[in-house]
């Protein structure tokens, strides 16, 4: 395939089918639009899956137990919490926060210089989770029985739907990419078919003088593949520029490529060329069969 496309074109052969400016522009424009979309939606997909990963990781990783208890039962309850945490599957670590850490957490409210000594702060435990985390209902029941002043907080109440959303967004974007590829293929195939139809008289003449299908097909395939690649390169560059210029701001908005993501805009025209090659070949052979 690559060889065939990169061959120094035989201009005498190329000239046989007229360049038909409008179908050509239409193909280039469609390819550019599809490549632009592919780059853009690829960026969305990558960013959404990044967000889902990050938040999902944070979410699966950490939980807090907050314990407020009268002084007389406090140490018992602290011990109970540590025991429960150690025995609960899905929890791999539990650590009581130091006073300094708690003070840092409260700084926004009391200022750093506030005297917290006089205050009976709740005790905070930082849990490290693994996998899907603990069985939350079971854990809560056990805490209620053995350390009634303890409250389990898995940070997930508000984040879970967003992680799910990011995940779904990422799959919607992935499906969209497949759709874009399919629509792009359909567009190129239709444009090539329209071109073959418009040139059926020339094809008739070529057949009259003994041209074979491969000869005719090659002209169209070569032409449409090159046009698609040209359009896709333009569209990819435009898409890349827009993505780079997109506002940052974290979360769902930060579409900018990261790491290997930068390869994506380069991959799109290549994929476009491949899709176009297949689509045009298929369309050409089909049409030629019909025209015979």
């Amino acid at each position: 395939m690559i060889g065939g496309l990169l061959d120094r074109s035989d201009s005498r052969v190329e000239r046989i089918v007229p360049p038909s400016g409008f179908t050509a522009s239409l193909t280039v424009l469609s390819a550019a639009a599809m490549a632009f979309l592919a780059v853009f939606i690829g960026a969305i997909s990558m960013s959404a899956s990044r967000v889902a990963d990050d938040w999902g990781a944070a979410l699966g990783d950490k939980a807090t137990i907050r314990l407020s208890a009268p002084a007389e039962t406090l140490q018992d309850q602290i011990d109970a919490v540590m025991t429960i945490a150690a025995q609960t599957p899905g929890v791999v670590g539990a650590r009581q926060l130091t006073e300094d850490e708690q003070r840092a957490l409260l700084a926004p409210w009391f200022g750093t210089d506030a005297a917290l000594e006089g205050l009976r702060l709740p005790v905070l435990f930082d849990l490290t989770l693994e996998g899907d985390g603990p069985d939350i209902e079971g854990l809560r029941r056990r805490l209620q029985g053995e350390a009634p002043g303890a409250v389990y907080d898995d940070h997930a109440r508000w984040r879970l739907p967003m992680v799910r959303a990011a995940d779904r967004m990422s799959s919607v974007a992935g499906v969209s990419l497949v759709l874009i590829a399919a629509i792009g293929a359909a567009m190129v195939a239709l444009a090539a078919s329209a071109s073959l139809s418009a040139n059926r008289q020339i094809i008739g003449v070529l057949r009259l003088v003994g041209a074979k299908d491969v000869f005719i097909t090659r002209i169209f395939v070569r032409r449409f593949t090159l046009r698609t690649i040209g359009g896709a390169v333009t569209g990819s560059i435009a898409g890349m520029i827009v993505v780079v210029l997109m506002p940052g701001g974290g979360g769902f908005i930060d579409l900018r490529f990261a790491g290997a993501g930068w390869l994506w805009p380069a991959l799109v025209p290549l994929a476009g060329g491949g899709i176009s090659y297949m689509a045009t070949r298929y369309a050409a052979f089909r049409r030629l069969k019909e025209l015979s």
Binding site: R15, V205, L206, L208, V209, G210, F215, L288, S292
Partner: protein
């Protein structure tokens, strides 16, 4: 060279040919004649495989043609030169490019046929027009260009459909001379025409025979006309 074995062709409810058998040997020269709509063009189309008979067999170059694939048809057409009745060209190519089309389309090196083309164009009086595009040619000029294209690769079988339909008598004789010459060099020639005086002229120059299309059949006329 061309063999028909009980060939039948029908369009709708009208039978054009009904069990026609023919055998045109290699090197022969035949005219096909008959009134307008008799089936002259159809006969030629059967010979260059643009059309398949409804029943019966067509043999070309000693080969059965019924179940040939598209590529095999293409291979066969390379040995056939056709002057189509309405001269089909690639309109945006120059006359010379059109004449060279059989070479281009079959991968023959242009340099091998370039001289041939120049001679041919001179012969049919189109040297001046070689860089024109076909729509800029007159009717007769188109027919001559089509003839040049048909013979550029010196095919074994030449099929000409009314090659003199749009030219004056002088040019008709010139074209006839070209066909006679080709026939003398061993090519098989089949030429459809409604011009009886042309056939009369041809008979003075070559042992041409006449296929006359009658009701559903074809009849070989002798020397008399």
């Amino acid at each position: 060279m061309v063999e028909f074995d009980s060939v039948s062709v029908r369009f709708g409810d009208r039978a054009l040919f009904d069990g026609v058998s023919l055998s045109l040997p290699a090197g022969s020269f035949h005219f096909v004649t008959g009134p307008s709509g008799a089936g002259k063009t159809t006969l030629l189309k059967l010979c260059y495989l643009e059309m398949a008979p409804e029943a019966g067999e067509v043999q070309l170059f000693g080969k059965e043609t019924e179940r040939l694939g598209r590529d095999e048809v293409a291979d066969m057409r390379r040995k056939i030169g056709v002057v189509h009745q309405d001269c089909r060209f690639v309109d945006h190519l120059s006359v010379s490019e059109n004449v060279l089309l059989p070479a281009t389309a079959t991968g023959v090196d242009i340099r091998d046929v370039d001289d041939n083309m120049s001679q041919l164009l001179a012969w049919v009086g189109l040297s001046r027009h070689r860089d024109r595009r076909p729509p800029e040619l007159s009717g007769g000029e188109k027919q001559r260009a089509a003839l040049a294209r048909a013979v550029i690769l010196s095919p074994d079988l030449i099929l000409a459909d009314e090659p003199t339909g749009n030219v004056d008598w002088e040019m008709s004789l010139k074209i006839l001379d070209l066909l006679v010459e080709l026939n003398k060099s061993g090519k098989t020639v089949i030429c459809a025409t409604h011009d009886l005086s042309l056939i009369r002229q041809a008979k003075t120059r070559a042992p041409a025979r006449v296929l006359r299309i009658r009701e559903r059949g074809i009849e070989l006329s002798g020397a008399d006309l």
